[in-house]
């Protein structure tokens, strides 16, 4: 599935619920599916700044695609990271960099999370894109060297 297909599927899933409690319950359930980061990587280097709760995110690049694992000490945040990973993990750096994450607005994540919380969400997105850019640059550098 493309980034947009995954996003559309998530939007559909969330649209089944009108009540915010139900949406949060869905987020909580999604958090349970999160590919969890190896505990040994739960260190400062993988901690994302700017979130009210702790979020660890680790990229793994095999030369083609980046796979992300993550965790958070807050359950709702874990659900949010799980969503981002669903959309962005297992993709090439270029795909991640150019991906337009419209699902965040569509499922009401941005409006319903207050600014400080929303900043946390934006920090996560920014961090994922930064990793993708770094791997992309490194890939180009390596191919020039060859």
């Amino acid at each position: 599935m493309t980034i947009n297909e995954v996003q559309d599927k998530i939007i559909d899933e969330f649209s089944l619920f009108d009540d915010w409690m139900d949406k949060y319950n869905l987020l909580i359930d999604l958090g349970k599916e999160l590919p969890v980061i190896d505990p040994k990587y739960k260190v400062k280097d993988y901690l994302i700044e700017g979130c009210q709760s702790k979020v660890w995110l680790r990229p793994d690049y095999d030369g083609n695609i980046i796979t992300f694992t993550a965790d958070s000490d807050a359950i709702i945040t874990r659900g949010i990271v799980a969503l981002l990973i669903k959309v962005l993990s297992g993709r090439s750096p270029e795909e991640i960099i150019s991906g337009d994450l419209y699902f965040i607005d569509k499922i009401g994540l941005r409006q319903n999370l207050s600014p400080t919380r929303s900043n946390g969400l934006l920090s996560m997105v920014r961090q994922i894109k930064l990793y993708a850019m770094a791997f992309n640059a490194k890939g180009k550098y390596d191919s020039i060297k060859k």
Partner: protein, 405 residues
């Protein structure tokens, strides 16, 4: 005591809904809501007599200047300062403390001198002193806190010495709600001739504040925490200190004569009020203080004690809920955590039920470190809150527990 319904009717915002639910506002420690009288006073300034103070020869400037000076007099009365020269308008608690830390540091502090604060301070009463200590080579000492959230007084007494140049402590802990024994702290410091600054950010709105009875050397507070506008606050200082201290900001109105060779400063209180002050804020603050006085400060205190004891009782009965800060003397602030549930998750769900609480470290990270936690949920109540709202909080917490376990 005014009827609770009448009190609530004075605060228009308390009537609103969030997410279609009645707002339960339990974030008064961060900022308080404003009575209509304060909102009207601000509108009145801008609709009928707005003009810069102490500047114009014209009618409006006179009216505005008079209202500003009248506000100063009403702040003086509210804290029972000796004279109006001792009441300086600032931007708030943070501005006041930074000002004193700068001026006091420049005037009196040398290498090796010591400043004492407590472990209960919010960042505004830590960082300015750290900056000053760094500048002057002085040392910051911290009064430790016991498990209930009270300062360990004997430790404080042991810290006082001829090296101590200033004690700066909060009147009430913002994170835990502990009321500190400020009278005793001041008396002990004074026996060594050490001046004391009291941070009244969380104290001014609960009970009666009398700076002369307390005998503090400086008292600072913010308008927005005592039902007044934001961006205005006060620095009270005994005249002997304020006369001796250099100004912390330069600009218009604080000067007597300016030439490029030398500037002489204006007299008190203007020496410390550089530039155009927030005169609408000051006027609004005076109206807020008048509102508090007419509601009755003793009545407010009594009501808040009832709220605290009901909330403590109600929340203590919830399984898996731990209250941080169990001092015998508290304002109605309850900091808590639920077993195995992150404070952020709790706050998010309570928010969706229309209950406004604060989560995190409350700008007081050292307090959290003391308990080995990285934050709490803080419900900070005040006199316009109700027992039913406490019931809603308790029900909300039960809902949170059921969702996350």
């Amino acid at each position: 005591m005014k009827d609770i319904e009448d009190i609530r009717a004075d605060f228009p915002i308390l009537n609103r809904k969030v997410y279609d639910k009645s707002l339960v506002y339990f974030d008064n420690g961060a900022t308080t809501q404003k009575p209509k009288a304060v909102i009207d006073a601000l509108t009145d300034v801008y609709t009928t007599y707005n003009a810069n103070i102490h500047r114009g020869v014209h009618f409006l400037s006179d009216v505005s200047s008079e209202a500003y000076e009248d506000a100063r007099e009403r702040v003086r009365l509210f804290i029972n300062a000796g004279n109006r020269e001792e009441v300086i308008f600032t931007s708030g608690t943070t501005g006041s403390i930074n000002g004193v830390a700068f001026s006091f540091g420049e005037r009196y502090i040398k290498k090796g001198d010591e400043i004492i604060i407590s472990h209960l301070e919010h960042h505004a009463n830590i960082v300015p002193w750290q900056m000053m200590c760094e500048r002057k080579g002085a040392v910051l000492k911290v009064i430790p806190v016991d498990d209930s959230g009270d300062i360990i007084f004997e430790e404080y007494l042991r810290m006082l010495s001829s090296k101590t140049k200033l004690v700066s402590v909060t009147q009430v802990s913002n994170a835990l709600g502990t009321v500190l024994p400020v009278n005793e702290i001041i008396a002990a410091a004074h026996s060594y001739n050490i001046p004391v600054l009291i941070d009244g950010a969380q104290g001014i709105q609960h009970g009666v504040v009398d700076v002369r009875e307390m005998d503090c050397d400086f008292y600072v507070f913010s308008g927005h925490k005592v039902y007044g506008p934001t961006g205005i606050g006060c620095l009270y200082g005994k005249e002997k200190w304020l006369s001796d201290l250099p100004p912390f900001q330069g600009g218009g109105d604080m000067v007597d004569q300016v030439t490029f060779e030398k500037t002489t400063y204006n007299e008190l209180p203007y020496k410390f009020e550089a530039g155009t002050t927030n005169y609408p804020g000051a006027i609004g603050l005076a109206v807020a203080l008048e509102y508090v006085t007419s509601t009755g400060r003793i009545d407010i205190e009594t009501r808040e004690k009832e709220l605290l004891s009901y909330a403590t009782e109600r929340l203590s009965h919830i399984r898996g809920l731990t209250i941080y800060g169990k001092s015998a003397r508290k304002i109605p602030t309850i900091s808590f955590l639920l077993d195995g549930i992150h404070q952020y998750d709790t706050g998010m769900i309570l928010d969706k039920m229309g209950i406004a609480v604060r989560t995190g470290t409350h700008c007081a990270q050292p307090v959290m470190d003391r308990y080995g936690i990285d934050g709490t949920v803080r419900a900070s109540l005040c006199f316009y809150n109700t027992m039913q709202e406490i019931d809603s909080l308790a029900a909300g917490i039960e809902k949170v527990i059921s969702m996350f376990s």
